[in-house]
């Protein structure tokens, strides 16, 4: 019985038929077979006596145990993230991560002066994840490909070797391959469909039933293969879809509103005094262009003005209400819809609405603060709606996410009573989920309704810490292709 060759083996013999022998590297390039598969084919042919092989000693790069453990994050990366989380600076004596300190200093990520360690701009960039760390990229590529030679600059490889993350190992490598007489014979015997074991099933073999009565060559089912690279939804999209489904099941209708908003809808309509600190630039992105957004609803303006002057006594300025900004919460969308459904003819109350959208906070960015987040807001407009109703709605909503919420008092300027929803996690303590309450009567009146309104706002990103086991919010929006493909399932 004639030995049936694997296509790779066949390709090797075909390549050698003309030249007799060929250097390994050239064969790799000409055949377009990756070096691992090619080595496998050569070893197979060698054991069949079809070829002979010249070897020489060569150098390979391999990860050490320490290198493997640093694949996810280097000590210096951990250090700058940690520094970022405490405002970018700390006492040198409090830094226990010595290796991290040495390398972060060497990389120019931080400065040590007067007993304090302070992040440089480069260090801040590093911590915010805007660039991938060269040492880690190279380490990863060595780990992924395990190839000969360096995949990055030599200096980086040298550094990795000095750090004992990578070892240079001397090994016997294949220098060149030559075909033998037996090999030539074997090649001449190879005929498609010649009655031997079948390698690859082809269109022809299927069409002419050439496979009938023949054996298929068996494969090694334990041979290593690469995992599939699926195209997937972004995890935030998955979470938003799950949340949307719950609200729809509970009979809520989805609404939306603009991201670029007037201060009126973001602040004034919600009873926030015009001199309130959160209206300062510290927390709010006011726009340089456009500067303002005109408001046409004169009736509303009159009532908002009188709500403010009555409660806060100060002159209320239209110019401040018309200032353009990026909304700081989706409660602006809720306010717009309280106004819309104040006296909408034909509406049947209670009206139940929710919205999902982006919000913006002018904050310094670190592992748990982003300038841009997603929020869900909800309202119910109706007669005599109570705190007990609100607790019922939010209990049902969180049950849909598999969370059993608790309720405690809290303060939000636009609701009274105010509620904070949280749940208890044995590892991390009480986790805040949502702010809620009964909308202040003044606001409902200013929006033109005598009905009562229940309202709540839910931050989405914080749920992700749990669902995906991530350590930094910025990971969510880095859109690293490998992470998008291989991230954990959100089980939603």
């Amino acid at each position: 019985m004639v030995l049936v060759l694997h296509p790779h083996e066949l390709a090797v013999l075909e390549a050698l038929k003309g030249t007799g022998s060929m250097p390994f590297e050239r064969m790799e390039k000409e055949l377009g077979i990756d070096s691992g598969s090619l080595r496998w084919a050569i070893e197979g042919l060698l054991s069949a006596g079809a070829i002979s092989v010249e070897r020489r000693t060569g150098t390979t790069l391999e990860l050490t145990d320490e290198g493997r453990s640093d694949l996810e994050a280097f000590p210096e990366e951990l250090l700058v993230r940690e520094l970022m989380s405490v405002g970018g600076s700390a006492d040198a004596s409090s830094v226990k991560n010595g290796i991290g300190l040495i390398w972060a200093k060497r990389n120019g990520w931080l400065e040590i002066r007067g007993g304090r360690v302070t992040l440089s701009q480069a260090g801040r960039d590093e911590a915010s994840g805007t660039k991938q760390y060269a040492q880690r990229s190279v380490l990863k590529s060595i780990s992924d490909t395990g190839v000969l030679g360096a995949q990055g600059s030599d200096a980086v490889v040298d550094a990795l070797v000095r750090r004992k993350l990578v070892e240079r190992k001397t090994r016997n490598v294949i220098d060149s391959v030559s075909i033998t007489e037996a090999g030539l014979k074997l090649l001449s015997e190879q005929r498609p469909g010649s009655g031997a074991e079948i390698g690859a099933l082809t269109r022809e073999l299927i069409g002419n039933r050439g496979w009938a009565g023949r054996r298929f060559r068996s494969y090694d089912v334990n041979a290593g293969v690469e995992q599939g690279s699926p195209a997937r939804l972004h995890p935030i999209h998955e979470l938003i879809s799950a949340i949307r489904r719950i609200w729809l099941e509970m009979g809520f209708t989805e609404v939306s509103g603009p991201v670029i908003e007037s201060a009126l809808w973001n602040f004034d309509a919600l009873f926030s005094p015009q001199d309130h600190p959160t209206r300062d630039m510290q927390d709010t992105f006011f726009l340089a262009n456009p500067k303002s957004i005109g408001i046409e609803d004169a009736k509303l303006l009159g009532r908002v003005r009188s709500m403010h002057t009555k409660a806060w006594g100060k002159p209320w300025r239209l110019a401040a209400a018309e200032r353009a900004l990026l909304r700081t919460h989706t409660t602006s969308v809720s306010a717009r819809h309280v106004r819309k459904f104040a006296n909408e003819p034909g509406s049947s109350y209670p009206i139940k609405l929710f919205s999902i959208g982006r919000i913006f906070r002018n904050e310094s960015i670190d592992y748990k603060h982003l300038a841009e987040l997603h929020q869900i807001d909800g309202i119910v407009i109706g007669d005599n709606l109570t705190l007990a109703n609100l607790i019922d709605i939010l209990t049902k909503f969180y049950a849909g996410l598999g969370i059993r919420p608790s309720f405690k008092p809290s303060y939000f300027p636009f609701v009274e009573p105010g509620v904070e929803v949280y749940y208890h996690d044995d590892k991390r303590g009480d986790i805040e989920l949502c702010g809620a309450g009964v909308l202040r009567r003044e606001i409902a009146r200013a929006m033109g309704t005598r009905k009562s309104v229940l309202a709540w706002g839910i931050g989405i990103e914080r749920l992700m810490f749990n669902l995906l086991d991530i350590s930094s919010l910025s990971e969510l929006y880095r859109n690293d292709v490998d992470w998008l493909r291989s991230r954990a399932d959100t089980s939603l």
Partner: protein, 549 residues
């Protein structure tokens, strides 16, 4: 939110142990931020500035736990009034001053520190960084002669934290407090308000006190001033501080500010009366509370309360600045009752939920793109001109950009005008990972048109691998156009710096351009760190998002 830190030993001495804190603080709607070693740090919500103070905090805890009863007669002034003469010169810079006198207070141990922290935080938050009001404390026994409040361009004194005499101008330009709070005097044409006894300056307000008459731990008798630009805020602050001093054991006497228009006395320690209907209480909370229970629940929150048929009336203590009307009292009754005592009650309705059209569009486009092997990216809308335009070899009219002011993060200056640059950046960061790499994103981009900000809704995609080319991009665009049902299609050669000239096209539907696609220019690839060829494009799904209401 403001935080305040107290010593656990001081609280223990008042009968408040760590267990009680852990139970009562959240029940009152606050949060323990940190309890470690000898201190506890508590997040105080902005509606309860009275609890920023150690004495006020202890008061609230004792009332809530039933250790102490609300008492209307407690907060009162007695004794002879002190006078401050107010010059008209302050009218344009910081017009209001109120005062009070406290005899027999105790500032030993941590008490002085607590008092200073409290008044500083009050002026920083409620006082809007000392603009609306700020307060100062003086050793009453060191004050000689009549007090006056005036404003002048010239003057000098030895301020706290300084060993030498400084002029008003030097304090504003050199002293740390002058640098921090000098801004409150802008618009006063160089006039500096100050308090003096006879010839001596006691304080330059609201900046820094003189080292003369400085308060120490052994001070027993105090004069306190509240100055500001808002009279109602100053009145509230004076009440709040007076209550705290009374609860510390001091006897508080009034102070009269003599304006040229007439005298104003302070502190006003009156209980405002608010009536709450029991049916309103039930309709807000969803639990029935009878008059007797409502009265005792309100008392635990510090109100004096009495039932009157179908309603009850509370007296709001002078240290509560947040109570506007019955809604605030109802919340306090709910807090006193405990939110865990409020059982859920379903809202009766038979409504059917409907999703927003844009969410459905996002889903169907995403499914199609995933089917073609593209993973979804979600990027931030905030970006900067370099990344969104320059590195993409694109230009835009400055007036068409939605720009933000004063971003705290350097690389934020505008909202993105296009989605594609975000994907190019994403793939640049993933350069070392396995090819092919394909990403798409569905989301908004922004521009100003006709003086208005316009939000368009788009899908962008990018494919990077050794064989990525124009045909791949065109194939994706054609499939997307079929999905959205675009009619009257034409494809024309197009110029866009981001793409290679001659390998870029625009697709139009009924004569209106809706998509641009092609092979990315090698300089763009290098700018973002992509090492392989890339092809991609962007398609407008909704030209302008319109929002109802």
């Amino acid at each position: 939110m403001a935080t305040t830190t107290f010593s656990l030993a001081d609280l223990k001495a008042e009968g408040i142990g760590a267990d009680a804190l852990a139970r009562l603080v959240p029940a009152l709607g606050m949060e323990i931020e940190e309890m470690s070693g000898s201190d506890v740090t508590i997040d105080i919500t902005p509606n309860r500035p009275d609890m920023l103070d150690f004495i006020g905090f202890v008061r609230a805890m004792h009332l809530f736990s039933g250790k102490r009863r609300s008492d209307a007669a407690r907060y009162a002034v007695s004794g002879q009034a002190m006078h401050i003469s107010v010059s008209d010169s302050v009218a344009k810079v910081r017009p209001y001053i109120l005062g009070l006198v406290a005899r027999g207070t105790n500032l030993r141990g941590d008490r002085l520190r607590y008092m200073i922290n409290f008044t500083d935080k009050l002026a920083d938050t409620y006082g809007r960084r000392r603009m609306k009001f700020s307060t100062g404390m003086y050793d009453l026994d060191q004050i000689k002669g009549p007090l006056s409040y005036a404003a002048s361009r010239d003057g000098s004194f030895v301020p706290l934290e300084s060993s030498t005499e400084m002029s008003f101008g030097e304090v504003l330009s050199e002293h740390p407090k002058g640098l921090a709070y000098g801004y409150t005097l802008k618009g006063g044409r160089g006039l500096v308000p100050f308090i003096s006894d006879g010839d001596r300056v006691l304080a330059m307000v609201p900046i820094v006190n003189s080292s003369h008459a400085r308060v120490t731990e052994s001070t027993r008798n105090l004069f306190v001033d509240v100055t500001g630009t808002s009279m109602p805020a100053a009145v509230q602050a004076a009440s709040l501080i007076a209550c705290s001093l009374i609860d510390s054991g001091a006897v508080v006497s009034p102070c009269v500010s003599d304006y040229s228009s007439g005298p104003v006395a302070s502190p006003l320690l009156d209980y405002r009366s608010v009536s709450v209907s029991l049916s309103r209480l039930r309709k807000t909370l969803g639990v029935a509370v009878d008059a007797g229970s409502a009265v005792s629940l309100a008392s635990r929150m510090g109100y004096t309360a009495g039932a009157r048929g179908t309603s009850f009336t509370v007296g709001v203590p002078p240290y509560r600045l947040d109570v506007l009307n019955d809604q605030d009292v109802i919340e306090d009754v709910a807090i006193s009752l405990g939110y865990d005592k409020i059982n859920p009650v379903p809202v009766v309705s038979a409504s059917v939920g409907r999703p927003d059209a844009i969410g459905k569009l996002h889903d169907s486009v995403s499914l199609l793109m995933m089917g073609m092997g593209f993973s979804e990216a979600i990027n931030q809308y905030l970006t900067n001109e370099r990344e969104c335009l320059d590195l993409m070899r694109r230009q835009a009219d400055q007036a068409s950009l939605v720009r933000v002011e004063h971003a705290k993060t350097e690389n934020i200056s505008m909202l993105r005008t296009s989605v594609l640059p975000c994907l190019v950046r994403d793939l640049g960061r993933s350069a070392h990972e396995k090819m092919p790499q394909r990403l798409f994103e569905v989301g908004s981009a922004f521009a100003i048109s006709g003086g208005r900000a316009v939000e368009s809704y788009r899908v962008a995609f990018l494919s990077e691998h050794s064989k990525a080319d124009f045909s791949e991009a065109k194939g994706v665009v054609l499939r997307l156009l079929a999905l959205i049902g675009a009619r009257g299609l034409s494809v024309d050669r197009h110029n866009d710096g981001a793409f290679i000239e001659g390998r870029c096209a625009a697709a139009s539907s009924a004569g209106k351009p809706i998509a641009v696609f092609g092979e990315l220019h090698p300089e763009v690839l290098t700018n973002f760190g992509l090492e392989e060829p890339a092809a991609g494009g962007e398609l407008i799904l909704v030209e302008e998002r319109e929002y109802q209401a």
